[in-house]
């Protein structure tokens, strides 16, 4: 009779062939996830004729053919991309707007939520429970309920069609307060007690002692905020209705409507151009992205 440890080890060894089938399923799933991207990239190099051919052709021939036979220069390979950038001559402005939106939302969320989260976690004050429950209610509310009045406010103070208009609903973050508060609560009270005795005020405690300890949750909050700012379509569409003031997403939705100008290969080139900066950032910080998202889930 083998002991338990050996038995477990035996069962794990026995599972090795199971790992192969696990890999098969995962590889199949990965292919499903990646194929639309591959097809997008291939299509963005096709000529219009190739893109409407039935049955579809997998690999672009016309455009690369002309480049490789020396008929055209290397730049011709990207003619669909160049077409998009020529027709949408404010494309670089879209990058700026989108990243200003993301950076702005992150900065405001981190500053306002860190302050409030510290107060809710560590300080005592009248109406604390009531005020925190207001934040919890807001957390449950779908943001669309505020859109119409928020838009009217943005127009009234003249920030529609500006970067500030894009950031506007994200000036504060109920989620950020809720999320960071849990990390402040896990920090021992003795730390601030000692600092108070040493004559520190709460601003110093927060900025000198607490903030450096919450770098990881702040990173997670930043990634969460970035993804939500990035995937928001309705607000940019409404508040910055001028195409050149929109985000990559809202501009794409307008480009798609101009079917007289932009054909499928152009649309795919535009999609690729819109995706690439965030995808590159994601590849560079994959670990932070994945761990950040996992953290926002666990702590909620």
């Amino acid at each position: 009779m083998p002991n338990n440890k050996e038995k477990v080890a035996f069962i794990y060894r026995n599972n090795r062939f199971k790992n192969l089938s696990v890999h098969c399923v995962l590889i199949l799933a990965s292919i499903t996830m990646l194929l639309p991207f591959v097809w997008m990239i291939l299509t963005s190099f096709k000529s219009f004729g190739e893109s409407v051919q039935v049955p579809p052709v997998f690999f672009p021939k016309t455009i690369p053919g002309k480049v490789f036979s020396g008929q055209e220069s290397f730049a011709y390979l990207f003619s669909n991309y160049r077409f998009v950038l020529k027709k949408v001559d404010y494309f670089e402005q879209l990058y700026i707007n989108t990243f200003a939106l993301i950076a702005g939302r992150i900065i405001f969320a981190i500053v306002t939520s860190s302050l409030a989260a510290y107060a809710f976690a560590k300080l005592h004050f009248p109406f604390k429970k009531f005020l925190f429950s207001v934040i919890l209610v807001q957390l449950m509310m779908p943001s669309q309920i505020y859109i119409v009045p928020q838009f009217k406010m943005a127009v009234a103070i003249g920030i529609n069609n500006t970067i500030m208009g894009l950031i506007f609903p994200g000036l504060i973050s109920a989620f950020g307060v809720f999320f960071l508060r849990q990390f402040y609560m896990s920090l021992p009270d003795e730390m601030s007690e000692a600092a108070i005795i040493d004559g520190c005020n709460h601003w110093k405690i927060l900025t000198k002692i607490m903030l450096p300890l919450t770098k990881t949750p702040m990173m997670a909050l930043s990634i969460f905020t970035a993804i939500f700012a990035w995937t928001d379509l309705m607000w940019p569409l409404i508040v910055n209705s001028d195409s050149q003031n929109g985000t990559l997403s809202s501009a794409l939705s307008k480009i798609q409507l101009m079917s007289q100008v932009f054909k499928t290969p152009h649309l795919m080139a535009a999609s690729f151009l819109a995706m690439i900066p965030m995808v590159l950032l994601y590849f560079a910080f994959q670990k932070q992205f994945v761990e950040g998202i996992a953290m926002t889930g666990i702590k909620s």
């Binding site: 639309p36 309920i145 119409v148 709460h202 601003w203 993804i227 795919m268 995706m275 889930g297 666990i298």
Partner: protein, 301 residues
């Protein structure tokens, strides 16, 4: 009671709450300006007629009795939710369980599944609409034709288009849910599984009696979040059909209807009534899920 011994009335206590109010001031101020006032304004808008300005329930009466699009968009929204939430979560759970095996390349798989999340949703919608789902030139129907199946008209068939949108939504969200579930799975102590192995429990039994109960808080969170998001679906519908397309009535969700009434037809009063209804629906269904929570969610202390 007073952990840090600052008694009410003492100088230190007053200084503490001054600091506290200063710290929460930006958030509370923002909350009032950006959320509380707009909420009240939305309610007020929905109770006023656009043309006469009269106070009354006219917008709601029009919504419930005079707008065929309204009921249709409720149906579309619920259909989308009923498809995407169970299938999406089933697939994410499957992938999470598979990735929880001690296998090589876990980070690569995880990275691939999460990819759609970092792509602009408009870009994703365009890719699926124009090059995947296109019934003639799209690669999906081409692949199907290779195995002898005539693919449907994914986009233009009114009976099909919501399913197509759901496929894109599931494809796009599976990575996110999978990461949350995987984090939950990794929080389950290995000793439970080892004890079950020794007792001779099969893998299905282990899944049913260890994984599901111990994962249920995470699973509950994912279901709540996914349901709320599904009921608020706008981007994909908006990208897949404009109002002149024949499939449009089958695509329009509640928030798409809200968007059109408010910003295309410029009736923010009626639009506010629609969005308030959508919020009530979301909160009702969320409350229902919290009510059901007791029955299956297991909190381990």
């Amino acid at each position: 009671m007073n952990r840090n011994k600052s008694l009410p009335g003492s100088k230190r206590f007053r200084s503490e709450w001054m600091w506290a109010y200063a710290f929460i001031a930006p958030t509370i101020l923002g909350l009032i300006i950006l959320n509380i006032i707009p909420f009240l304004q939305s309610v007020a808008l929905s109770l006023h007629d656009k043309h006469s300005g009269a106070l009354g329930l006219d917008n709601y009466i029009k919504m419930f009795t005079g707008d065929t699009y309204f009921w249709r968009s409720n149906l579309n929204t619920l259909l989308f939710t009923v498809i995407t939430v169970p299938f999406g979560i089933f697939l994410s759970l499957l992938l999470a369980v598979l990735l929880n095996h001690n296998i090589k390349g876990r980070n690569i798989y995880r990275g691939i599944f999460f990819m759609p999340l970092v792509c602009a949703p408009a870009a994703i919608a365009m890719v699926w609409r124009w090059v995947v789902f296109n019934s003639q030139t799209g690669f999906l129907n081409y692949m199907l034709s290779l195995v002898g199946i005539t693919g449907p008209n994914w986009i233009s068939d009114p009976g099909m288009v919501m399913i197509s949108i759901s496929i894109v939504a599931i494809w796009g969200s599976v990575g996110y849910d999978m990461i949350l579930l995987l984090a939950g799975l990794q929080g389950i102590s290995r000793t439970y599984y080892e004890a079950a192995l020794i007792d001779g429990a099969g893998s299905l039994q282990r899944f049913r009696f260890i994984t599901v109960p111990l994962l249920s808080p995470t699973l509950f969170f994912v279901i709540i979040m996914r349901t709320m998001n599904a009921l608020r679906q706008f981007d994909l519908s908006f990208m897949f059909a404009k109002d002149t397309d024949p499939a449009f009535p089958s695509v329009q969700t509640l928030l798409y209807l809200f968007y059109r009434e408010t910003y295309i037809k410029l009736n923010s009063n009626y639009g506010s009534a629609i969005v308030l209804w959508a919020v009530i629906l979301i909160l009702l269904l969320t409350a229902l899920q919290f009510w059901g929570e007791k029955k299956w969610v297991h909190y381990d202390n």
